[in-house]
Structures are given as structure tokens and as C-alpha cells.
Symmetry: C2
């Protein structure tokens, strides 16, 4: 990380924490340079960056000011209350019916699971695809179906290395998206009837997979900013025969919470002590807003207990269906299970992504993508403050493209969804994120699409429906 990026993160933290208030002037270049002991050009670069991230804006001849929407206008939700110890999962039917209702491409896609494809370098990726597929030797098309395309595996291992995680290449298994990776991991370490610790709220597919595999959930509350409640987890690990944990330690879906480095280390130590494997779902890893990437729990993994699952679907190539798992001590079992179920993900898609990673400018694209998402988050937060009841609570994640709204108690988000759909707006209602259909007054909204008049109108309309309850 360069000096100006670090400095920009420091200023961003001051804005987020409210030390620098919305509308307030940020220190002049000369002043900042003297106060913080950095060169004026470093300050300049940092301010340009913060402007691009949507946190400050220049006023002609007056300098830089904190943008209005950078304020935490609505309060954050509380941590979810303690839950029953274990629970059967019974939500799959509901999830399917909700997802089916979200499928209309003409709605305002607040309910979508993906960011806008316009934010991805699909044309550049298409060039990589066209070139690699033309030059691919015939035998390569049928070979290397075992652990994946060698170039892609090297490129992924390289990215781990650059972010400070040394990964033995033979831990890596390429999969048909992260969803396959997560399924394989869970099947390798559990039997029907086993207990699995998951988050509350959790990504709905996690719930569906548990239900399908006849596993019981041990729900661990997630703090909207700090992530998994380690206290509850520790007590559950002590009292219950938990066979695996399935957690998102960074940019958790749907809350956006990220555990701090120290807690990730504690989490690993805890799991190691109890000899319980962690399935770490890290599909939003690249979508952090600060300049420093959050490290996964995997970075503390010295004994192979962590199966770290990643994907290109949220950051580069949705629809290509390429994910992976760094499987720790379970890598070979995962690879064998994959050979028995799908054999291999598409070889041309793997080769195209490998070529793009090497030549396409992935890091440049990611910087642009992160700034766009951060700006759009600001827009949605500001719009929510304008149109939603003041008692609404909302998360403020440091990455990703989801906000989690907690509406007043009387709001029923499943009903809200129906009313919104009738107006051409989708959203993801709270109950699909819970093994037991909790979070009735909550909803996840996607800000991953360029903000425009239509988005603003949709927020206004949503606000009106919420108030009508």
C-alpha cells in the first residue's frame, strides 16, 4: 500500500467515525501536510482518491468537503438476540419461491445477488477467451480435468501470495463456482444429522444446503460490524458436537460485517483447539473499500483446518462459473468428490480467466469496481435517510454491495416484497436469511448497480410502502 492510500484510509476512518462531519471542510493540503507529516503531493493524491470513492467533494475555490451522504444518517442494527441451541432448517421452499419472484429482468434489481454486469470488464475477458480457446491444444481440452487448469491454479496461488498467504499449490481445487466448492467441503466433513455452526442471519444458500444434506444448524449471532459472536461460538463448541463451521469472516452476506484481524486469529485458535474445520466462504474478498485487503482466517491456518472458498463470480466473471477452494488437510478428499460429481469446471472458462489474470489488468479493474461500489453505497445510504422512516436501521459495511435494513417491527418484509414487486422493485426479504424464518422486519438491498433517477424513485416508493405498514 502506498503512502497516499494509507493516508486516504485514515481520513476515510475519520469521516466514517463522525470526527469529520458531513458538510465539514477537510483540512487544506498545506495544513494536512504539516499536521500529518506527509508531503503535499501525498495529500493531493489522497484527496483525489477519496473524491473517487465518493467520500469528499471539491467546491470551486473553497477546497474539499465531506459529502452529505457520507454521514451515518440512520443508526446501525443491533446484534441479533441469542437463539435456540440447535435447529432443523426449514426454509428452502420459501427461498425458492422468493428467488423465482426476483427473476424478472425489468424490475429495479435491489433484490439481486449480483452487481451490475456493466461494472465488469466483460469485453476484455471475451478477448482473453477468444484468444485462449483458439490457441488451446486439443489435448489440453480433455486433460487437466483433475485439479484444474494449471495456469489458473498458479495465478490464484500468486494472488494468495501477494496478499500474504503462502499456499501450497496442491491445496487448490478449481470448482464450478464457489457454490460447488462449499457443497464439496461440507460433504467431506459431515454426515446427515450432524451439527454445523452457521451465522444468523446467513446467506440463504447456506441454509438450503444444510436442509438438503439433512444437517442441523447451530446459529451463531453476527454483529453488524464485528462479525461472528465469538463468545457464543466458544460456548457452543464446548457444549455441542459441532462437526464444521461455515462462516464468512469478511463482508458477510447479508450484514457486510468483517471480523478484525485479532478476532480472526482467535477464531482459528478456537477451532484448532476443538479440532473443528472451518469452511470459509470468502466470495466478496476482493470488494473491500479500504486500501488494505482484509486477511482471511485462512491466513492463520497452520494445521490445515480451514477450507477457504473463493470465486470470480462477484468480481470479474459471473456466469463463467469458476470458483476454487484452498482445501487444507481436506484438499484431496474434495478433489476426489469433485471428480465423482461434476468432474471439472469448463476448461475454456478456466483458461480465459487465467489469461485475463495474467494480462488483463485485474487489479486496475478491481480498484475501479471498489470505488464504484463505495460511491453507490453512499448514494443508497443517503437516499434511505431521505425516504425511509427515521427508526429504520441500516448497516454500513466496508465493502461488497449489500445493505441490510431493519425496518420498524410492524413491517413484514415478505409482504413488503409483494407490494414492491407490484411497483417493479425487487428486494431480498429477511426471512430467507434465517433457518427459522426470523428477521421478518428486515431486508437486504443491493446497491451494485449504477445509481440513477430510477434507483432514487424506487427508494422513494419503497419508503412510502414501508411507512404504509
Amino acid at each position: 500500500m502506498k503512502r497516499y492510500e494509507k493516508f486516504a484510509d485514515e481520513i476515510a476512518e475519520l469521516i466514517r467515525s463522525g470526527v469529520l462531519a458531513p458538510g465539514e471542510k477537510v483540512p487544506s493540503v498545506r495544513h494536512a501536510s504539516r499536521t500529518y507529516g506527509v508531503s503535499p503531493s501525498t495529500v493531493f493524491q489522497a484527496y483525489y482518491l477519496l473524491e473517487d470513492r465518493g467520500l469528499i467533494q471539491a467546491r470551486p475555490r473553497s477546497g474539499y468537503f465531506v459529502r452529505e451522504h457520507a454521514r451515518r444518517l440512520l443508526p446501525e442494527p443491533e446484534i441479533s438476540p441469542r437463539l435456540s441451541e440447535t435447529t432443523d432448517v426449514d426454509v428452502s421452499e420459501l427461498v425458492f419461491s422468493v428467488l423465482a419472484s426476483l427473476r424478472d429482468p425489468d424490475t429495479v434489481p435491489f433484490g439481486s445477488a449480483f452487481p451490475s454486469p456493466d461494472l465488469f470488464p466483460l469485453q476484455r475477458l471475451a478477448r482473453s477467451m477468444a484468444q485462449t480457446v483458439r490457441e488451446m491444444p486439443g489435448r489440453e481440452v480433455i486433460a487437466e480435468m483433475t485439479t484444474g487448469h494449471p495456469d489458473l491454479r498458479r495465478q490464484i496461488a500468486l494472488r494468495y501470495m501477494v496478499s500474504g498467504v503462502m499456499l501450497p499449490l496442491d491445496e487448490l481445487v478449481i470448482t464450478t463456482g464457489a457454490m460447488e466448492a462449499l457443497n464439496l467441503c461440507l460433504q467431506v466433513v459431515t454426515q446427515p444429522g450432524d451439527l454445523v455452526a452457521i451465522e444468523a442471519p446467513a446467506f440463504y444458500a447456506t441454509l438450503q444446503v444444510l436442509e438438503r444434506l439433512k444437517l442441523k444448524a447451530v446459529e451463531i449471532p453476527v454483529h453488524p460490524r464485528d462479525g461472528i459472536d465469538l463468545g457464543t461460538l466458544e460456548s457452543r463448541l464446548g457444549s455441542l458436537p459441532i462437526k464444521a463451521c461455515w462462516f464468512m469472516s469478511s463482508l458477510q452476506n447479508p450484514l457486510g460485517a468483517s471480523m478484525c484481524e485479532a478476532n480472526k486469529e482467535k477464531l482459528y485458535a478456537l477451532l484448532q483447539r476443538h479440532q473443528v474445520p472451518l469452511i470459509e466462504d470468502d466470495v466478496y474478498a476482493e470488494l473491500y473499500f479500504n486500501q488494505e485487503p482484509p486477511k482471511p482466517v485462512k491466513s492463520h491456518d497452520h494445521d490445515g483446518w480451514v477450507m477457504h472458498c473463493g470465486s470470480f463470480s462477484k468480481s470479474l466473471a459471473p456466469g463463467y462459473r469458476i470458483g476454487w477452494v484452498a482445501g487444507g488437510r481436506y484438499a484431496e478428499q474434495i478433489s476426489r468428490l469433485k471428480l465423482m460429481t461434476t468432474i471439472s469446471p469448463s476448461v475454456p472458462a478456466q483458461a480465459a480467466i487465467a489469461d485475463y489474470l495474467q494480462h488483463g489488468g485485474y487489479d486496475r479493474h478491481l480498484r475501479k469496481l471498489r470505488h464504484a461500489l463505495e460511491r453507490q453505497q453512499g448514494e443508497m445510504l443517503a437516499s434511505a435517510a431521505r425516504h425511509f422512516p427515521a427508526s429504520t436501521r441500516v448497516t454500513r459495511p466496508s465493502g461488497g454491495y449489500f445493505l441490510w435494513f431493519e425496518f420498524p417491527e410492524r413491517v413484514d418484509s415478505l409482504q413488503l416484497l409483494q407490494l414492491a414487486l407490484a411497483q417493479g422493485i425487487s428486494l431480498a426479504p429477511g426471512p430467507i436469511f434465517s433457518a427459522t424464518r426470523r428477521f421478518r422486519n428486515c431486508a437486504r438491498l443491493n446497491y451494485g448497480h449504477p445509481w440513477d433517477k430510477r434507483s432514487e424513485n424506487a427508494m422513494e416508493l419503497l419508503g412510502r410502502i414501508v411507512k404504509s405498514f
Copy 2:
């Protein structure tokens, strides 16, 4: 089917059945035209076709003669003996260790599961890929992940229609290869501990999947030419609570057997009477040698009991990992299970194949491929007759790219594999095709690679090793 194609098939049948012996002159054009009541040009075209299929050859100024290797030089194997009623499957470890040993790309690939990639139009397919991926709208890359790419689904349904099977479009689910389709089907209709009827010998992955899902096998003998023994199946269905059948009714792997139309109809009636679903693995469907495609059991399916699984991996695009299932009454359950496990196969790979099917000349390619495989089968059969002990038995399938050899009792094919590998030759030993490691003296050999001096030498060497037992 054109008149000359039908006529060519009739002559081919005379050759296969021995009515026209190897070395014998086939009727002159004038004679054939008069005898069979077809025009001389029809006879000409038929003879050209038979020459291309490797069954007859022209001698200058003498006319056409049946080729030497078209003879059934080695006898066919017998049907496998009756087996125990039900059995646990315990062969997965053996399969993995054998498959690992086959992975060296420098061996003569008699053990391979794929035909040579040189037989596929990979360059033409690459053009389809390059073009579709460049023109693909961004939203298409993330949409349509549910049941598959709409163009591809239409093209597949069209191929069913042309071959006489009317298929409601909503039965079709596109999958990551046929392997995923087969896994999904089996999971939808079984629970751990259930009985599943499979073939003996069976495709080794079938056995691995049963073992993995903790299902018990009911092995049904397969006749090397006629396919599944319906008598045994009927008695087993009467006496055992079989939850599903997993059969290849055409070009069975490894025997190459194809059930006749009447038996397929009987099979369907039997399953319908017992209300037992059929998972029909039909991945070699396009590789028939005669002009008329064999119809699947699916063509008799009026009540939705058949889940018909297909793939492009053996006929067009290995490594693209695109297969499908026409799921009958189970289609929606299959589609949901897929959404929970891999979500979707690669969208660009689907689009590329859809474009190729529409514009690439698939049928022309398939004709060339079939003729190449038929010629290569002739070469391997002739070579086996030259080099293997006379007591060796071998199948003579009417399609595909596998021969099944039954060596003298004293030959141990697992040991044979080790000895052959040491000489740079691979093969697929009999025991990996059996739930209980039978078929010790058998092996499957792949003739899907262009025949050359190296293949001939490898056969000679193999023959010598076999004789050394």
C-alpha cells in the same frame, strides 16, 4: 434417412453377420441394382459410404471387396453369470488409483475415457465461442442460470424432435456435463441405504457415485450385444424394493451393447408397471455406426419415468463440460437441486455450443466422426486377431470407441495394467467396472484415436504380455 444410407446399412448387416465374408466380392453395381430394386446411383453412393466406414475396399478394375478385418475374427464374450441379489459397492479407491495411473499423456491411450481431440472440430467451436462471448450482452452472462441458456435448450430440444422424441422444453435442465446430471437424478430419487439397479459390468463412475451416496447395487447382467437381461431385471423388480435403475440402453460402457427397440419398449413398460424411475445414461447416443440413430428408452416415456442424460463431451466438446437431462416428472426437483449445488454450468460454454449447433455443421462433423471410429474399430479388431491369444473374446459394438476384451482365465488385468504401463501403454482393467471387483480377466480398450504404427506396436506388445500369463 436417405435410400442409399438405408441400403448401406443392409449391406453392413450382411457383412457383420458373416453372410458376406471377409475377402468376398460384394455384388456388382448392376447386379445389386437389379437384385435389390434400387437405382445404380443409390448402389454407388452406398458403396462409397461403406468404403468410408472401412467395411469394404475397392480393388482396381475388380470392384468392391469386404475388408479382411471386417470379419468377426475373435468370438464374442458370453453374458456375465447371475450375481448375488444386492451388494454394497466397494471399488472407489481402486478406481481412483487406476485412473491416476492412466493420467500420463505420453502412454498409448487405450485406457482413456475420451476419443482423440483431433476428431473434434475444436477450431470451429472456438470460432463460435469467440463470437458469442464478444457479442453476449452483460445481463445474459448473469441471467438464465436457472435451467440453462435458452438457445442451447432450444437446439437440444430440436435434436430430440428430429430424432423422433417430442420433448417439452421445460423438462430440459442443462448441467456441468452428464456426470452432474446423473448425480442430480440419483439424489432426487434415492436416500442412503436404497437399492439401485445397475449394469454388470457398469461404467466405473456409476459405482463410485453409488458408493459415495451409500446406495446398494442390484447388479443386472448385460449381454454383450443385446444389453440388459430383462428377465433378471423383472425378477429383481418383483422381489426387491428397487428405487431407481441407472442404465445405458445404447452403446453401453464398457460392453458397447445396445438394446433393440422392442426391448427398450418392454423395459419401459416394466418400469412403468413397477413405478420405478430410469436414469438413462445416453452419452454415446451420437456415436452409432449405422445410419439410423438408436432411439432411447426415453422415446417410449409417456408418464415421465425416464430421466434421459446426454452430453457434448464425447461427440463435440470435451472439457467444455456441458451436458443435460430431460428429467421427466423429476425435472423441477433436478433443477432445484442443481441451483443448490453448482447453480449453473458455464454460460459462455453453453452459448458457444448453441451457436455451433445452429451454424457449425454438427451433423456433418458427426458423420465424419462415426466413420473414423468405425474404421478404427476395424483396425483394432484386426490387430487383436493378429496378436492376442485365439481364446480371447471381444465385443463388436455398433458404435462408440470401446472394445471389451475377455482374456483367458489366468490373465489378471490389474497386473496386466502394471506391465503395460511399464511399456508405455494404458488400458482400463475389468475390476473397475464391477461393484465387487469381478471381471478380473477383462479389459476395456479405447480405439478412439487415429490408428497408426504406434497403436499396432502397442497391440503386439500387449498380446505378448497377455500370452506371458
